[in-house]
Amino acid sequence: MELYNGPLDTKEIFGRWLDEQAESNYGAYIPFVGTIRAEDDIEALSFDIYKPVLQQWFDAWQEKAKALGAVVKMAHSIGDVPVHTSSYVSAVFSPKRRVALELIDEFVEDFKANAPIWKYDVKNGERIYAADRSTPMCGSGLLA
């Protein structure tokens, strides 16, 4: 898992991951890129991350992938990420395509629902929590 301040250098990350696994005999490599769209007059999105819980979430996914003979990777931005740049990349390597296609779907969807990352719109230099696009994590409401 890789965390960076500001936008991701997606080509460097994907190229490096590909090089790292060049001799691993994986038949499928499926990358996913999340790019900031220009909408609602935003200048950027901004992100807070709680790394200790994110690392545990990611470690659990690595174990799940390993049991299927696959590898999951991810990188995410902290702080401001301007429109038309990327804040999130992930990938799955697996011996055959079916496992990687299914895992990238599950991994990205669970990431959206349970990775401890908070998103803000940046408008006129102000950070506004994206409350209406955010999802309560599994187990929410315990203290209510």
């Binding site: 999340g34 959206k112 908070w118």
Partner: protein
């Protein structure tokens, strides 16, 4: 004493309190009107591990994190 920290957009300074279980933490946090809008949609971690049981016992020095709704990517 245990410490309660509020992550992401909650924007509230950490609190210290006496609490034997997470139910005690719940009772104390419910007294704070600034948290009313948050508690029903927040998840909870104890020393950075997610927890789901109000009867979870706490010990001196424990750290409880309150995690509001997320949206990565």
């Amino acid at each position: 004493m245990i410490k309660v920290e509020f992550l992401g957009p909650i924007g509230k300074a950490p609190m210290e309190m006496e609490a034997a279980t997470l139910a005690d933490v719940s009772a104390k946090l419910k007294e704070d009107s600034t948290l009313t809008q948050w508690l029903d949609k927040c998840a909870v971690a104890l020393n950075d591990t997610m927890v789901n049981d109000l009867s979870t016992a706490l010990k001196d020095g424990d750290r409880v994190s309150i995690l509001p709704p997320v949206c990565g990517g």
